[in-house]
Amino acid sequence: MSDALLQVRDLSVWIGSGAGAIRPVDAVSFHIRRGETFALLGESGCGKSMTALALLRLLPQPAGEIIGGSVQLHGEELLALPETGMRSIRGGRIAMIFQEPMTSLNPVMTVGAQIAESLEQHKGLRGSQAQRRVIELLDDVGIPDAARRYGEYPHQLSGGMKQRVMIAIALAGDPELLIADEPTTALDVTIQAQVLDLIRRLQEKRGMAVLLITHDLGVVSEMADRIAVMYAGQLVEQAPRNVFFGHAQHPYSDRLFAALPDSSKRTQRLTVIPGTVPPLNQTFHGCRFADRCERAWDTCRSQVPDWFDTGVEQGVRCHLADATLTPAAAQGVAGADEPGPAVQAGGAGKETLLKVDDLKVHFPIHRGFFKRVVGQVRAVDGVSLSINEGQTLALVGESGCGKTTVGKGILQLLDTTAGSVRFDSVELTQLRGEALRSRRSDFQIIFQDPYSSMNPRMRIVDIIEEGMIAQRIGSSAQQRRQRAQELLRQVGLRPEHIHRYPHEFSGGQRQRICIARALAVEPKLIVCDEPTSALDVSVQAQILNLLRDLQRELGLSFLFITHDLSVVSYIADRVAVMYLGRIVEEGEVSEVLEDPAHPYTRALLSAVPQVNRDERREKIHLEGDLPSPSSPPQGCHFHPRCPQALPECALRYPPVTHPSATRMVRCHLVSDAAAERA
């Protein structure tokens, strides 16, 4: 291990002091070699970010404290350095990029000045010299027209661009190690692919090591050379990439893989990891994962497992790896969450429940003193779709393409500009006031963020009963209370919890309460607006299972709005791909995902990081970002980014083509092919 760039031994961090102290990092040891990518993988709240901050000694003050261990960079002990010494390390030899590019840049400084600041600090460059170097750096991170961007402010850049600028700032000091803390979590898949590609390219060019912190197995698979899995403040497994993805040893890693949704698991329930990460303000007397582990036996609960080296740079913290112990018969016991009976897919041949025709939602742009309307943001610009009873339609697209607006427009939470929404053969856009209010029980919504979707000042019972009272469901308070308790049981929570407040629940539990709230008014259609994107993989699996169970029991229809194609392939019957306010491709899930016709769909699919690298398709890289819906490009909206654009794409928007009975595509490539055949 003499070639190690960074050597971390028994690093421990406490937040707070005394008995209630939280111990987010507990004796973590690893090393990173020059030029390699080391991934730290784990659910939220496992101490990944704290580890990274501790390396740079940037823990939240005054509560956070490194209470033990050593961090050596080239044999130099960082924990012993004085604060002034750390300053040349931070940004100079170890640089860091954060998850949220929107808040990591100072909004009142030009991006050039922010990069130059770092250059001055670490390289002593000033004036025109610094400016030249900044432009080089901007070029390096793939920002087009770097000289012009030098003088721009962060708000003039898109999210992906800001993350590139952050990377440029990190590179300014020529670091030997780049710590990337969830660098792409806030970005869309196509932008994520661009940024990951950039990091990989820069790493090769500069021979820089990368510590990648992420919860996304796909990203890990694409990027990492070696992987460490973190759980509840400890490393539980460490292995080279191929070994890890071939055969993960720790039951936790194993379950993480099993919880990933994909099309091959369509017919079964997803494997879930029950429960959540334990609170870290306690002393553990057994394995921290024991309560959630289906292979746990008595020893796991009474004895803390040691670290076992199982190969070169490979090890696991689990009693199963201990040859001296023989696990009891627990192995292979079928838990309640084993893949359950086959779930029948699809609801073909049923009645149409919702039919949306040419829906448009435009937001006027007001300017000037008298607030004249100077333009329209065409958030939704002619969307047509239909959902049958008991069916799931997934609406897929990047952020800003208008998918949430479609959902809210259908629910009449926004004023629609034009088009029709027929629900059960009633035209919703024409309904007003009481007529609309009384129909609202038929269609409900589940939101993305489980933290903002419930009033923090209301008890669970009030939250669930609110809709029932508004819709006059249940004749007496007694009946409503009973129904609320029944609903909680139905979504897998205990009815006794009815008097608690939302903040007493975890994210996944809150999402269950939101589902119970929506079910309270007996809807036929639920719009699920990214219901799992704020949740960890293991919790996501629980929610997806629940939604499918409910669909089967109650015959619900879902409009599932998401950007996650693996979720789509698991849960949806049909899928519609949206780009800039319009649906560009629609069809059965199997058709669209296996044989995408529109170049945008193809690019989206190829940009999703794949867990199995061997099966990876050819990458299609999209350049640039989503254009603004206030001034969409002429012709096909996608043509400026399309790798296969034809001359006529710039002239007119492609017509609707039906390659098969169940399929719709809007692309000149497809319509031309169809015309030739005809």
Binding site: R440, S441, F443, Q444, S452, S453, N455, M458, A470, Y501
Partner: protein, 470 residues
């Protein structure tokens, strides 16, 4: 025989008291309301300020129970006639403090007037001298030699009384907490004394000790001396300052009561409905904000003064007239000061209305009024709470400034502002009369300081960002 008198401000103060008590009772059952307050009473500074505010409030409340005494019935008179003087419970408690009036200025603890006067002796000779006071130190035959010892004796007595009262309070508190904690009385007393209880009872007791000592000192000394001197017409300054407490509290609290409906209602309407409602409300408060506040208040007060002067038949007693003027001052201050909170609430409502839970309520077909009441108002309450507590001290100071300018309360109403206003002339005298100003200043200072410290603690407890760090 007495006749109770309910002045307008009395009624409103008691309404406010009931509202506060009801809120406290409701908050007891709601964890999200209770938790921040529990946080508040854990802070030592907050508890000390709370004790100070409590003492002031009790004084103010005692001063808000008014009545008129019956005049002695004369022969052939059927009905009882009542005195024109409206007294309060506090007046009765203070007893001699109110009635022992000297001729004019006298310094604190003085036995003689502050100015020389020509006194004609029994033999007809006229001498220029400092005459003895009618009440201050009147029991002493030779003030120069006896005063020091007399004061020391009375202070020692006061100290003994204070210690006795405190021990009693300490013991009672110990009993109460022993029952609550289910521990022995001795153990509870120990926990209080060590300062390790969850609520800093020791701090509360110590702060209370200061006040108990001050009160016993006042009782013992003021019977024989003018502790803070007398003013131009010979009235006791200590009495004036104590009576001013009610005026300060009335202005501080009733103004917020007037202001809150405007601020909360208009702010929520503007933020939630947007569009033309928002425009109208915004224009309203920007216009109001751009008029200099003092001018607007002066104009309104002067108009009201003229009206009152022209309609003397509306008021049975002087006190009622002065009280109405105080009430109108609160109204005017309230109407001119709601804009700041309104703007804050509008902004917060704009943010809240886009949150998912408001959208979810919309999706359930919940009516707009119940969205405003159930979803928005409870989530704005912390801002209202903070604004009310912070505004309080500002308003107490504002009263002083306005009375100084001459557009404040009625000149007959005892208030710190009026005292400071009069001190303008007193400070110009030679030798200077300093005690009025100092007395008003220190009473006001303690109240405003306590209110500010308390508001800091309240703000910290309600601030979700600070709460997350704990």
């Amino acid at each position: 025989m007495i006749q109770p008198v309910l002045l307008w401000t009395d009624a409103l103060i008691f309404v406010l008291l009931v509202v506060v008590l009801v809120f406290a009772w409701v908050a007891r059952g709601r964890e999200h309301l209770r938790a921040p307050w529990r946080e508040v009473v854990r802070s030592r500074i907050a508890v000390a300020s709370l004790v100070v505010l409590g003492v002031y409030t009790v004084t103010g409340l005692l001063d808000s129970v008014h009545y008129r005494k019956a005049l002695p019935t004369q022969d052939g008179q059927q009905e009882t006639q009542y005195s024109g003087d409206v007294l309060s419970l506090l007046d009765t408690l203070l007893g001699p403090l109110r009635t022992q009036e000297e001729k004019t200025y006298s310094a604190p603890f003085a036995t003689q007037l502050y100015a020389k006067e020509t006194v004609s002796g029994p033999d007809g000779t006229q001498t220029r001298m400092f005459p003895r006071l009618k009440y201050g130190g009147a029991h002493l035959s030779d003030p120069a030699s006896q005063k020091g010892a007399d004061i020391a004796r009375r202070s020692a007595l006061a100290l003994a009384e204070a210690v006795a009262v405190l021990l009693l309070l300490y013991g009672l508190l110990g009993l109460r907490l022993a029952r609550k904690w289910r521990r022995s009385w001795r153990a509870a007393m120990g926990t209080i004394a060590s300062g390790k209880a969850e609520v800093p009872w020791r701090t509360a007791l110590l702060t209370l000790a200061v006040f108990v000592l001050l009160i016993t000192l006042m009782i013992n000394l003021s019977a024989a001396y003018h502790v803070l001197g007398t003013d131009k017409v010979g009235q006791d300054v200590l009495y004036q300052t104590i009576k001013s407490i009610r005026t300060g509290l009335v202005i501080g609290t009733l103004t917020t009561l007037v202001m809150l409906p405007f601020a909360v209602f208009l702010g929520m309407m503007a933020g939630y409905f947007r569009g033309w409602v928002d425009d109208v409300i915004q224009y309203l408060y920007t216009t109001l904000n751009s008029i200099p506040g003092v001018l607007l208040i002066a104009a309104a007060v002067l108009m009201m003064q003229v009206y009152m002067a022209n309609h003397p038949e509306l008021f049975e007693t002087m006190a009622e007239r002065a009280d109405l003027r105080l009430l109108f001052l609160c109204l005017i201050l309230g109407i001119t000061s709601w804009t700041g909170l309104c703007r804050l609430l509008r902004g917060e409502t704009l943010k809240l209305r886009e949150l998912d839970y408001v959208q979810a309520a919309d999706a359930f077909g919940v009516s707009k009024s119940s969205i405003l009441l159930r979803h928005l108002l409870p989530n704005l309450m912390h801002l209202v709470m903070i604004a009310v507590v912070i505004d309080f001290s500002g308003l107490v100071l504002a009263e002083a400034v306005l009375s100084y300018v001459g557009v404040g309360v009625d000149p007959t109403t005892q208030s710190w502002g009026n005292m400071i206003n009069r001190a303008r002339l007193e400070m110009a005298r030679e030798p200077m009369v300093w005690w009025s100003l100092l007395a008003a200043f220190s009473f006001m200072f303690v109240l405003v300081l306590a209110a500010n410290l308390f508001s800091d603690a309240v703000r910290d407890a309600f601030d979700p960002r600070l709460r997350a760090q704990r």
